[in-house]
């Protein structure tokens, strides 16, 4: 036994059901809990978006059943402008924090990072468990805003001050609802900081014998770099939320200027700076985009070589690009604020790194395309979603060029063009990463295969669906359709309503396609055929252990690594065209 090297870092397997499945310190259970949480959150967020879309297409038609659920916000089922903003705020907050951050980073990262580095558990299992439960509590606090006071907040997922700071006078939901929002996000920051701490310490200190940094799988590199970004970004958002809470409940004036009159009432504050909130928020907010997307980069870079049976092109260039993106992500936050009023010189200073950051992003894309160039691709649901990721990431990235430049951004920033841009590049792309990861890793996580036919149907319907939803929004934006408005019945935007109706139908259709995924997920969990240890013929350490992995991941024998993660397409190694990381020298 090699117990001398890694004496049970994982705590012994507990016996009681609760300790094993609910209050577990096992990183695999915690990873699944994060994914389950994200699933509940994404369903909630999607239903909210359907209600909003329905209202945008048919502003005067009551939404069936909504009148009973929200008697003040939607009396008789017709949504008030305020309630539209409330839905938008909750949709954005739930999706960005509790889906796009939680699933690809905390969910898959928790499950697979320790296995991929050959560790038995995270560096600090109890902190890891705390991190999940704080996240869950944060989600419950956020959702409780639906049921208390005058409903959810209205200030968007960015919670711009002073709207978010002044309280009840600013509208329904700006009382208790907005305070709950700030408390929830502050808690979420704590959870993510604890999680990032764990990811970094595990990657640095718990790698198994032979797992040098150069041999780390690409997904682990991506999670590691993401956690470094998160460590800095959430460390700024948390104090910002504390300042916001103090402005709201303790009478301070960090963000509220003097002489502000809202709802005919002079606000009892003075001297604060609304722009200060925007700076603090976007210093977090832009890196957050990369927190959402970089795990997808890692997942796709791990999946494409497996199904192309070719090594990833330029692995070192790929990692260098990730690090470059991480650094640059801290220098570009001002490009969210061109419209907020900014010295033209500062705008240029923020514009240049924004354009520069497209270089590493473009290089990574070219590496992916180079990897599949000339390959005989194995088309599975996982590889299709990985390819789809590249497609939607490029589609969303291209519109970024227009938004990176202040002159064009000032026209486009308040329009649906921006909605199209960030939904493609951050929302849909990250979701495709999550889907790719799910189809790829499901056999390892649950020991059963997912249904490939349903998976491919799910891919094609989703792929076509998201383009139908978000492509026309570029046109809406160029035509001057402002965002965040609940209806366009009486003004110059009326001719665009048919397009809104098309988008709404496409959104409902795409949403319905997700039922295929849900069905596949639940059915395969219980009825799927048994999965072998390495169904995709991949190289990384998770495929060297059983499906699902035992409690301490490797059955008491930590693997010894003699190969990099990228050894595909060889011919000299006998019948296999790949070399696993744990294969002997």
């Amino acid at each position: 036994m090699t117990h001398g090297v890694a004496t049970s870092h994982a705590p012994p397997r507990p016996q009681s059901f609760l300790r094993r499945n609910v209050f577990s310190v096992d990183h695999k259970v915690i990873g699944r809990q994060y994914l389950d949480l994200a699933l509940v959150a994404v369903v909630t967020g999607m239903v909210l978006s359907w209600v909003m879309r329905f209202h945008l297409g048919w502003p005067e038609t009551p939404v069936p059943g909504l009148g009973k659920l929200a008697p003040t916000g939607a009396a008789g089922g017709v949504i008030t402008p305020e309630y539209y903003l409330a839905l938008m705020t909750m949709h954005g907050t739930i999706m960005v924090f509790f889906v796009l951050t939680t699933a690809p980073f905390a969910g898959f990262g928790n499950f697979f990072l320790p296995i991929q580095v050959g560790a038995e558990d995270m560096a600090f299992p109890r902190i890891n468990m705390t991190s999940f439960w704080v996240t869950l509590l944060a989600l419950l606090v956020l959702l409780s805003a639906f049921f208390v006071g005058d409903g959810p907040p209205l200030s968007g997922w960015t919670a711009y001050a002073p709207l978010s700071a002044v309280g009840k006078d600013a509208g329904p939901g700006q009382g208790v609802g907005q305070t709950l929002w700030a408390v929830s996000i502050a808690m979420f920051c704590v959870a993510q900081l604890l999680g990032s701490l764990n990811f970094i310490a595990t990657t640095l200190d718990l790698r198994t014998k032979g797992m040098s940094l150069a041999r780390l799988p690409f997904a682990t590199w991506a999670w590691f770099i993401t956690s470094v970004i998160g460590l800095v970004a959430f460390a700024v958002l948390m104090p910002a939320c504390i300042l916001l809470i103090l402005d709201r409940v303790a009478g301070t004036s960090f963000f509220i200027p003097a002489g502000l009159v809202i709802s005919d009432r002079l606000q009892p504050h003075a001297g604060g700076s609304p722009l200060l909130w925007q700076h603090l928020f976007w210093f977090f907010g832009h890196p957050e985009v990369y927190i959402a997307i970089l795990p997808g980069f890692g997942i796709v870079s791990q999946i494409l070589p497996v199904f192309a049976r070719k090594p990833l092109l330029g692995p070192r260039v790929f990692i260098t690009c990730l690090i470059a993106i991480a650094f640059l992500s801290y220098t570009v936050w001002g490009h969210h604020m061109f419209l907020s009023g900014m010295n033209p010189l500062s705008a240029t200073l923020f514009s240049v790194p924004t354009l520069v950051i497209t270089i590493p992003a473009a290089i990574v894309t070219l590496l992916w395309i180079g990897t599949i160039y000339g390959a005989r691709l194995r088309f599975t649901a996982a590889s299709l979603f990985a390819l789809g990721f590249v497609s939607v990431f490029v589609s969303g990235g291209l519109s970024g060029f227009f938004l990176a430049q202040p002159s064009t951004d000032i026209y486009l920033h308040g329009t649906y063009f921006v909605v199209a841009h960030f939904h493609f590049v951050m929302g849909v792309a990250a979701m495709f990463g999550i889907f790719a990861g799910t189809y790829f890793w499901f056999p390892k996580m649950f020991g059963r295969m997912m249904n490939e036919t349903l998976g491919k149907w799910h891919f094609w319907l989703t792929f076509i669906g998201v383009y139908c939803v978000f492509m026309p929004m570029h046109y809406l934006g160029l035509a001057g359709n402002v965002r965040r408005y609940s209806a366009f019945t009486d003004d110059y935007l009326q001719p665009l309503i048919p397009l809104h109706r098309f988008i709404t139908i496409a959104a409902l259709f795409t949403g319905a396609a997700q039922l295929i995924f849900l069905f596949n997920l639940i059915r395969s969990r219980f009825r799927g055929p048994k999965a072998p240890d390495n169904p995709w013929e991949a190289t990384t350490l998770e495929w060297s252990t059983s499906s699902p992995p035992p409690h301490d991941n490797f059955g008491g024998r930590p693997p010894v690594v003699s190969h990099g993660p990228n050894e595909y397409g060889g011919t000299g190694g006998g019948p296999r065209d790949y070399v696993m990381q744990a294969d002997p020298q």
Binding site: H3, L204, V232, P239, A250
Partner: protein, 187 residues
């Protein structure tokens, strides 16, 4: 388990370390504390920049008189760092208890300092200067309480001593930074 082969006096590291390059690595707990230090520094840096922006955004910055008690508290905290280092190097458990006592006295002293300020009529919402004063001291005190928790934990698991000591010294350094910042702002 490795404890069976090691003599009972040997210190077991906080968490077994899996060497990757062969050479010894700092213990995992210490890595964790370094990462924590990075995060906490970033948070206070963010608050400092918020302070700079807020100070220049409006002409309503009022100077407050810092209670002299703060300097006594500073001495207590620096002394607690000294006793901890003494305890760590000489393996003297008494030093650890002294550190705990001094740390508790520091927090009590900070609360007393707030009360002194309150007696002058200076509260959180009085002005931007006082808001930042209460915010900085409260956040720092909370982190000190966390450090005290760590020191209590060390009583049970001596292996975590180095990590806890690292954090505790950082608390002293952070406080010195905050004191200089607050003094300079209210000069």
């Amino acid at each position: 388990m490795s404890t069976a082969v090691l003599p009972p006096s040997t210190r077991v590291p906080a968490a077994p370390v899996v060497a990757s390059g062969g050479g010894p690595r700092p213990s995992v707990a210490q890595t964790g504390v370094w990462i924590g230090i990075a995060t906490i520094s970033m948070s206070f840096a963010a608050l400092t920049s918020a302070l700079v922006v807020r100070q220049s955004s409006a002409p309503d910055w009022q100077h407050i008189t810092l209670p002299p008690l703060l300097y006594l508290n500073t001495l207590l905290l620096v002394a607690s760092s000294g006793t901890l280092e003494w305890s760590r190097r000489r393996q003297a458990p008494a030093g650890l208890l002294a550190t705990l006592a001094l740390g508790l006295l520091f927090v009590a002293g900070q609360i007393l300092a707030w009360r002194r300020l309150g007696a002058q009529g200076v509260f959180l919402a009085t002005g931007p200067s006082s808001a930042f004063f209460y915010l900085f001291t409260a956040l720092h005190a909370l982190h000190v309480l966390g450090g005290l928790g760590g020191l209590v934990y060390v009583q049970r698991r001596a292996a975590a001593l180095n990590a806890a000591a690292l954090y505790w010294h950082f608390m002293a350094v952070l406080w010195l930074y905050l004191l200089v910042l607050l003094t300079w702002l209210n000069r």
